[in-house]
Symmetry: D2
Subunit: 380 residues, 4 copies
């Protein structure tokens, strides 16, 4: 099979190339770029220079094509483009009978154009494409992705990086057996606080990413206004069956890969007034309660190939999912046992972008879901 990547010069596109280069079902890669067409990919990424020496020559000429020419040659197309610029390529792919995996926000809102328009300031050119599209969080929509693709060429809206980490942290509580007890306290707000590595900001130069000013500093950005907020809200609502108030705060940290999300979920049936005055460990009941929740989380994700619920004593860390498609989850309780605290770690470039897109391709194409994604995460 031939895979095409439109937007191959951005970081997500380059990460797609890295993963697909080692994918057993992909025998050649076609790369396209709107702004760099005609150039060699090795001019943009000298790390790819003479990579074919190792024998895995999937790039061929390595010259960046136009999207149109790419679509003609590909059996599956990935769009790694800014929001609002890829719809025509999705349409062209479908018209040619080829599925399209979109890494922008364009296909993350099903048919709800109003929310998209409100947050992204754009309208859709081909709204009808959404009838052939699905939100590509496999843990939530695996069956729908497969069914849609079985019915013909499909568009998959690959989730955002933060929504992936935050949603997977909440799913067992909101949509699984914990829905009833211990459930989310009625009327409560979910707080999602997350920190991302700098690759999340992409390849474009910017003052906050200038090494001397970025190195060694951590800061929040777009507090209360980040565009991933409505995407997370939608996903939590689908999981729980009802609207869930959400506050989401993203941060930028001085590292390259990874997102760590800390999600605060108030539990029903608990009082909090005296909370923090208690010493740690507290009554045995809290320890038992936490063990129970951990068991339920582990059981919920037992068959998920890429979600790992960590055992007691280990907290999720971005350094332990590096370059893998894993989402690591650890569960914790505050001192009174009234707030569930879930730590969720992904590699923002893999499970948060290119890896999840390949997982979606695997589902769409009927490959093993883990094909090309078996890499062991490395500590450094």
């Amino acid at each position: 099979m031939t895979a095409g990547i439109i937007g191959a010069t951005g970081y997500a596109g380059a990460e797609l190339a890295r993963i697909l280069w080692a994918h057993p079902e992909i025998h050649s890669l076609v790369l396209a770029s709107v702004s760099h067409r005609g150039e060699a990919i090795t001019g943009i990424y000298p790390n790819f220079w003479e990579a074919a020496k190792t024998g895995s020559d999937k790039f061929g000429s390595g010259i960046l094509e136009t999207p149109e020419s790419l679509i003609r040659r590909s059996d599956i197309v990935f769009g790694a483009l800014p929001a609002g610029t890829g719809e025509a390529y999705a349409k062209a792919s479908l018209d040619r009978g080829v599925s399209y995996i979109d890494l922008s926000a364009d296909f993350r809102f099903d048919e709800d154009e109003a929310v998209y328009a409100a947050w992204y300031g754009k309208s859709w050119r081909y709204p009808e494409l959404r009838r052939r599209s699905v939100y590509g969080l496999p843990e939530l929509n695996r069956r729908r992705i497969r069914e849609l693709a079985a019915a013909g060429p499909a568009v998959v809206g690959n989730p955002g990086c933060y929504p992936t980490a935050v949603s997977l942290a909440c799913y067992p509580l909101l949509g699984g057996p914990l829905r009833k007890t211990p459930a989310l306290a009625p009327g409560s707000v979910i707080i999602a606080d997350a920190v991302s590595g700098v690759t999340g900001a992409g390849r474009e130069l910017g003052r906050p990413y200038h090494f001397p000013e970025c190195s060694g500093s951590v800061s929040a950005y777009k507090v209360g206004t980040h565009r991933h907020t409505p995407e997370i809200s939608r996903t939590l609502m689908k999981m729980s069956g009802a609207p869930v108030p959400l506050v989401f705060t993203p941060h930028l940290g001085p590292f390259n890969r990874g997102i760590l999300a800390t999600v605060y979920l108030p539990l029903a049936g608990t009082g909090t007034a005296e909370a923090s005055a208690l010493p740690p460990g507290g009554p045995g009941k809290i320890t038992e309660k936490l063990a129970l929740i951990r068991e339920v989380y582990a059981a919920f994700y037992k068959d998920e190939p890429f979600v790992r619920v960590l055992p007691e004593g280990i907290s999720a860390a971005t350094g332990r999912v590096r370059r893998s498609n894993f989402c690591d989850i650890s569960v914790h309780l505050d001192g009174t046992g009234s707030v569930l605290i879930v730590e969720s770690a992904i590699d923002n470039m893999v499970k948060g972008a290119a890896g999840q897109a390949v997982q979606n391709m695997n589902l769409v194409c009927g490959f093993a879901e883990t094909a090309g994604l078996e890499a062991l995460p490395s500590l450094f």
Copy 2:
């Protein structure tokens, strides 16, 4: 004046040395170490080698003395020691008529030994010392620190790093003119989510601080059980006059200096149900509400020499308070205007430890409060 530092080989002790070296009122420094006595400080910190070349020779021989000998020679004593090990030195200092600034947790709980014992697993050897001690958060207790010191030699319990960042983020809302409107929603829990640089873990080697495994990774630790929790709770209660439920989660990030705390404060009189579905910017009322809150915060801290309330459009970042005693605060609202989000940044080694200790010394000794702490923060 001669200042003595017991525990000079730890990171807080070395940072105290660095600041006091440039302090206009301190003419000599005596250093002590229990485990390294008799050694030269330059053996532990080769960066101090021949520092006297510049003319500022405050170390003298630079040989680490015993605490007992140090106390005999000092006009003010700093204890930068593990919890539970410095009481005798505090007592000896007071007996000699010299004030003692303690950087451990031993004097952060006033006379409430029960809470200390529950969280630190130790009891007090000289509980009566607390009658001469004060919690050294100058923004809260400036007057008491001065009054106590005026009455005789005193002990100052220098606050923990996280409590400093979190408490200053909450004070204008809990204890200032915002107490009434917009006030904290009744019954609500304050969530404090913070990330610290690695110097916070100190000089002792440990796997999480081994460069290859620490670099590039962020993780939570001691979730729901960190010892700074009761200290923050106490301080918030003092500020608000009533108990405030608190959930506190510390994280470790791959950088050296700084703490960024993100504090979530639910506001009274607001509903949150429809919250996150709204686009950013929202109705003008939210913008107005935030501007009002920012004004109140700025007015509240107007005369504080080390608290800066940032203008609109700038979010607090650890990189902008580096090596200064500043606490930078930025205020934000979620999309519905129902949760106040405060970002608070300090240098954990300065305002979070040694700098605040020097600020306390200045208050105790009647120096200008900012003496030795005027350094301009640097971006890198």
Copy 3:
């Protein structure tokens, strides 16, 4: 095939596990540890937790075995152990008819025990093993490695990280067509100046690797006394056919992966007296001379799968070989054209250790030389 890794808990062992996990010819991995036997590998490396979820379960139980039990079960054995501790395992492997790839210095000196003893302070227990051993720098010894392995089970002494980077930088000049003109100036000393990332120091904790003191600092170590010096000298002598005086200085830099070696090679037939007074670019002859040298380097390494001679305008950088088995080489001249300056970059954990060991296994076992090593290097 089953591969066994003795010393699986060290960084080189863990990197071997990461690479072999994705190797198409290796179907199971047996791990052994002298100090951690009986423990689970996931206790040491939590990043390996539930890695079998992706379907690539090569670890089996993941319990660390004894070396003896490992040797009984393996078709190829890797020793990732300190110098002087693995000979008995090499012997046991050979006795069982299984080849042994050694990542220590024990088999890097052919039969020259005197040099080994002088630098490592140890003698050999089984000197006769050297008759079945070969120095595993494939670019130099590919044929011998294959021949030896064809004749029976063999021991491969995997090169050190610095020697790999430095030797490959010199080979075309010392041993290739440049040997005659422009040749190394007679009597001249080769200066090799290199900087390594911190993973090169291994998993053991140490003050120079404590994040707060390591981060942001670069320093030299073991100047004039590093044990890789005689290994480099031997290899350069093999390449050139005559002794080559060498000065080697290693440095430690604040990054995880990579070695950048800068090698200074004085050229014959050039005067240097007026050298540095000339402006850059200089006479066209220097540019021509450099282009010629670059062509010769490129031709020399044309068929080497893992050596890339970079085109004009790009200087070798560790960030562009990250996680790949590539050695990137760029050639430069000083302003007078009298000193050839070669920059050579490898990932110290891959081409400098585990990757090269797998390359050697591929040669020994008759696999494609690049099997398991085709990964595209990534920029971050």
Copy 4:
């Protein structure tokens, strides 16, 4: 006194502001910028926001003025501008009777316009200014700087960062008592290999300084063509009294502050042929020789306030001079005792730029040479 900084928005300018802010003789600072005039400095550097809260208000309005207006108000003027842009300001300052400290290359070549023009591609507008200028390496030219300034307003050409580190490494051998024995081997080339932190590249955005691509990578740049080469050559010639062939290779490393230079100096009267085959430690004669050289270095720099010759067993590291004006030097020999290897570490922003400029101001103005530069270097 009032100090003026033209080019206050660049990193060198901002570092000057940071140091002068704490300088006891400077009571106000005037800032100018050609491209940002009329803006507030806090818009460019939000870390300076409300810095006057600490009582050290030297910025006044903090509005960036024009250079002309600045010169009218200043008692000493610093130019932190690109090469070829500051001559007119130097002239205007002198015309007003005020000395000018230039941080560009414009005044580093005495009256040798040809070399400047060849390397910088520009000619001088006011060549006659060189008659009132001096190269500002205090260790070499302290007397001349003082004498020139005593005779009237002067221009000081502040040295480049690399030249400072490299020249100070060589001075005792080339110009001191070691000149005779052990002297530099006749006809030999000095190799200077250096790595700089990223602040050396300044505030302007650039791909090599984009965090994701800069972080974790080290590379060489401008090999054989860096403009600091002729400056180093000139200085070494002044030190030794004769031309000294030099090869200089700069590298970029993933850290913010610091330069580590490794300088290789072949010694006279030694053969090198058998060099690297010898084990470390070698004959006692080498140890003795090194001890002698270290003593001579230490004696040579004994009275220099900012040069520290490190004792045996400690190698110079950038992390130990951080934020100080120190240059740390450690001396080493290769295994045969024939090449002297000197490691030289400075903070590129301090001794390599702003700190040395302040040291020059102190000399020019007759202040204590160390005024404002006494800060203790810190480990992190």
